[in-house]
Amino acid sequence: MAHHTLHMPCTEADIRKLRVGDTVTLQDTLFGIRDATQIHMFDRGRRTRFDLNGHAVIHTAPNVRKVEPTGTNQAGYEAVCIGTTTSDRMERFTRPLMEREGVRIIIGKGGLRDDSARAFQELGGCYLAVIGGAAALETTWITAIEDVDLDDLNPESLWRFAIRDFGPLIVGMDAHGGSLYRDVQSSVEARRAAVLAKLGA
């Protein structure tokens, strides 16, 4: 189990080095994305002015405060609390995020399914698990909200965060077809019969 530090944006070669169970700390830039953002981008054909090529997106809709735009907060938003939502709902957007926008890393909680695992393997991407519900801590890794796009969807806008030492995150799914979630699910299924037998069910 190795630890990696990745400066964003990164390359396919950077991602191929990661293996399930490794840990990763991200630096520099991170994009926040959510259900409505991706429904509008991929089902309704909306485009973003952000270049997501080689970047990481995190499944989030933050708590923010409106402020006067300044040097580090050009968007006029200050972070209140930024955490992570359940990724599973956004499963079908993994491939278009990678194919159309060039995204390399998806960060979330709870994992993604087999279609995403295949997309990560074919296109060179990965899923990094952040601890869900640990948003107060996660907020301390975000130094500024640099910019925002598709803000009519607020809070489900497309956010650009400046980050420092974002992590450690756990490689939940890698670019070699590995998935910690699939492994755990198989092991749980294997235990089910014994658990039910003990319950007399």
């Binding site: 809709a61 709870g110 948003a135 979630y181 235990r191 089910r192 658990v195 069910a201």
Partner: protein, 300 residues
Amino acid sequence: MSVISAPDKLRVTPDAIEEAAKLLYIRALKILPDDIKQGFFRLDSTETDGLAKSVLATMIENIAVAERTENLLCQDTGIPIFNVQIGRDVEVDGWALKQAIARGTERATREHPLRSSVVHPITRVNAHTSCGAHVPVIHIDFVETPRTLRLEMIPKGSGSENGSFLQMLIPADGLSGVKRFVVDAAIKAGGKVCPPTILGVGVGGTSDLCMHLAKVAATRPLGSVCADAEGAKLEVELSEAVNSLGIGPQGLGGDSTAFAVHVEVAATHITMNPVAVNVQCHSARRASATFTPEGVEVGF
């Protein structure tokens, strides 16, 4: 917050309710109840999986960071739920109370500010008030306790709420059908519901009552026990079963899948055997304000 006490009645004004609703929403989002904190320490002391232990350690660290930075524990401000218990000899304008709770919720959202997580179900438009049709969810109950009004606030997170399951089993499915349903619900929910969880199980009633019981069970303090002896037995059995599955914190494997399984029961029809599961995530947030002639006490 002012409480005006008549000689033999407790009178609670809408203004006092509004202030309490605002305060409780924000407090619930920031401070985890002691029973949940103790639950974390208990799980941490028995967890045998290395990765699961580090996940629990991050969650415990987050509780401390939230308190130190006076920030929200989780970014999900949830669907606001208010449970109101009105004792005997209490004078309150019920309609005004409901409006006051909504005003307090909206003020918390605007003034803190908080993310409004509430949208119209068809247009998906967010009014940025945390309010909408039938939201905040308000449950009103009448209890025997004299001259007491208790307001409980629960911001119910969506990751865990999406892990809700109902099955209208039939009598021939028996109790074993109920147990099987709960185990399979836990498996289906996996890591999506932010374990370690409190798994709430409703048994009996009608379909809507059964689901409501599951929510009551999921949001009950840790350490509380089902008032029904058979329900209490089921809690022990199912807690052990769910924690033998190996789902673990965040679904990454381990022993700590649920703090507990809680069960609530209601009588049901001779032809029915309904069971429901509702999940509370590890950010199992609650806050309460109790109005008495002596004043207002804020707690969990």
